[in-house]
């Protein structure tokens, strides 16, 4: 006959087993070599979408590039060829609607910056398909997590109403965060018309914490494609220098994508504060993320960092 103590212990173990969530499959992240911004990018992006089963049929899709400064000759902004390649892949996939959307944080002349960056010349009827998220219609939304003090924010209808957001950042170092990749890209959805230029409310709420909360809100419906063909090293995200890395990095799990990008940049992802907030280190460990395509060690390159972040650079880390 089972003792009462044994029965209680067995019951507790059974309950714990039932409550334990099944382990998630390892996140899949693709690394593809892309030597240049040329026509081959279109086939590469289409292949990445198939590889990750990005199904856009009947969906409202928003493409979110990184558009920061009024300078066509630098590596500050996501290259418009990448955005157009994603546009074509989404269009071919049968999306119900496609918008390109961004809300720059420092400068208000969004359309002029897009024109200078080449978006108007490369993407047909660009102005008709573009939304300046800084001046979009907004609604109040409670963020899906509470790492920061933000709580509720007024956020743009274009991203709130999207079925799928494709985060298309430029691979860059960042002088306050270490790196800016697919998750920090969501700072661009916070409207300056409500919060000002720059979006200082995010800094006071905690940059890493704000990244985590915006990711929890938009990440579940997002796919990331990082423009790392010509990346930025040094004093990013604006005053750094060109670093040819020759890769596109893609996946559904944005923290895993960002961790992979960090490894490519010779940055220890466990030292990136916003990644620490959103994921257990084991979930972003190299042996947990399923890398598809090029192995990291074949594309890893040493990025120069701002002085305050040199300690997170790990050239020996695979």
């Amino acid at each position: 006959m089972i003792s009462r103590r044994a029965w209680i212990g067995a019951s507790a173990a059974l309950a714990a087993g039932c409550a334990r969530k099944p382990p998630l499959p390892p996140p899949r992240v693709s690394i593809v070599r892309v030597p240049a911004y040329d026509q081959s990018v279109y086939d590469t992006v289409a292949r990445l979408f198939r590889e990750h089963k990005v199904d856009v049929r009947g969906k409202r899709v928003v493409l979110k590039p990184n558009l920061v400064e009024f300078d066509s000759g630098t590596v500050i902004n996501t290259n418009p060829l990448i955005v157009h390649a994603v546009w074509e892949a989404v269009r071919a996939g049968g999306a119900a609607s496609i918008r390109i959307a961004e809300g720059p944080g420092h400068r208000r002349i969004t359309y002029d910056m897009a024109e200078a960056a080449g978006y108007f010349s490369l993407i047909p009827q660009f102005e008709d398909h573009f939304t300046d998220l800084n001046t979009d219609e907004v609604s109040p939304v409670r963020l899906a997590s509470a790492h920061s003090t933000l709580g509720q924010m007024y956020l743009p209808h274009t991203v709130l109403g999207a079925d799928l957001i494709v985060s298309i950042p430029k691979m860059k170092t960042h002088h306050w965060m270490g790196a800016t990749l697919s998750m920090k890209n969501f700072f661009g959805v916070v409207p300056g018309s409500i919060y000002g230029w720059p979006k200082n409310v995010l800094h006071w709420a905690g940059i890493a914490q704000s990244i985590a909360d915006l990711h929890s809100t938009f990440g579940p419906k997002s796919f990331a494609l990082v423009d790392g063909i010509d990346a930025m090293e040094g004093n990013g995200p604006v005053q750094g220098t060109r670093k040819h890395t020759g890769v596109l990095v893609a996946g559904w799990n944005l923290p895993a994508v960002d961790a992979t990008c960090c490894r490519i940049m010779s940055i220890d992802p466990s030292q990136i504060e916003y990644l620490q907030l959103v994921a257990d280190p084991a979930d972003l460990a190299l042996d947990h993320v399923r890398q598809i395509g090029e192995p990291i060690e074949s594309v890893r390159t040493r990025f120069e960092m701002a002085p305050n972040f040199r300690h997170i650079r790990t050239s020996h880390l695979v």
């Binding site: 359309y111 102005e127 004093n235």
Partner: protein
């Protein structure tokens, strides 16, 4: 003409959206009204717009960014510049008092002297009581410029604004970038100079129209050079407004940038009026 486009894009409720057909927001409505006033077009459409704008003043004297978003912003200062916005001294003083209460975050003793010990090195951040876009954040160039212009308007009847007015001008001068112009308000970070932008160089110079000296002269020289190479409608307009404010001769006429938004169209009209002798942002009430 710019003001024709502005009249044509006024919403039925009297306000203006960021782009034609969009719902009415405070900032584009304020700029649209400034443009109409600059053109001398103060008829029924203007009055309807004033009525809409006045309705965005909150009980504490601040202005909401748009109906339904009950958040205070320093758009109160921009709205103050619209001729005829005040129906009486009490409504005006409500906003002036609100502006005087606003300080960029980082202005307390702790934030000025203790906080920086634990923070990354940036500009000496908050030594001046300037203005944020929204309460609880740091001071920045554009809202401070608006506030300086707004407080100038009332200094004759409100001598108590003198100290803050001077603090605002000092902040603007302190945030001058290494290249001589201004950006959003962060001239230096991690010991590295940040570059200026044409549009914010123009905004700062307009706000500092009553200030002279080598910083201003250097900035005006830069503004003239920026004007020659600027392709942005908003940038060209602000640079024109700045050069006119300091009675500098405008460089040879440039093809205007493409004005796509309500604010860009309004600024072009305001700049054209300023070049013709009427600088709406500097008019006394």
């Amino acid at each position: 003409m710019g003001f024709d486009r502005i009249l044509a894009t006024q919403n039925p409720d009297g306000g203006w959206g960021w782009r034609p057909g969009a719902s009415s927001w405070t900032e584009p409505s304020a700029y649209a009204l400034l443009a109409l006033a600059a053109a001398g077009a103060r008829g029924p459409a203007y009055d309807k717009g004033l009525q809409w704008l006045r309705a965005q003043q909150l009980a504490d004297g601040s202005f909401r960014p748009r109906p339904g978003v009950e958040r205070p912003t320093t758009l109160a200062a921009l709205a103050s510049l619209v001729p005829g916005v005040w129906t009486g001294a009490s409504r005006r003083d409500l906003t002036v008092d609100w502006l005087l209460r606003q300080k960029g975050r980082g202005s307390t003793f702790f934030e000025k002297f203790v906080g920086p010990l634990f923070r990354h090195r940036v500009d000496r951040p908050y030594e001046f009581n300037a203005w944020p876009f929204v309460p609880g954040t740091a001071p920045w160039l554009v809202p401070t410029a608006w506030a300086v212009l707004a407080l100038e308007r009332v200094r004759a009847s409100r001598p108590d604004v003198a100290g803050r007015l001077e603090a605002g001008r000092t902040f603007l001068l302190a945030r001058n970038c290494g290249d001589g112009g201004w950006n959003h308000g962060s001239s230096r970070a991690l010991d590295i100079d940040a570059p200026s932008y044409p549009e914010t160089t123009g905004v700062a110079l307009v706000a500092l129209h009553a200030v002279g000296g080598p910083v201003i002269e250097r900035a005006l020289d830069l503004a003239a050079r920026q004007y020659a190479g600027c392709t942005s409608s908003e940038g060209l307009s602000w640079l024109s407004l700045a050069l006119c404010a300091h009675r500098r001769q405008l460089p040879p006429a440039r093809p205007p940038g493409k004005a796509r938004t309500t604010v860009e169209v309004a600024l072009e009209a305001m700049a054209a009026a300023a070049a013709g002798g009427r600088h709406i942002l500097l008019e006394e009430p």
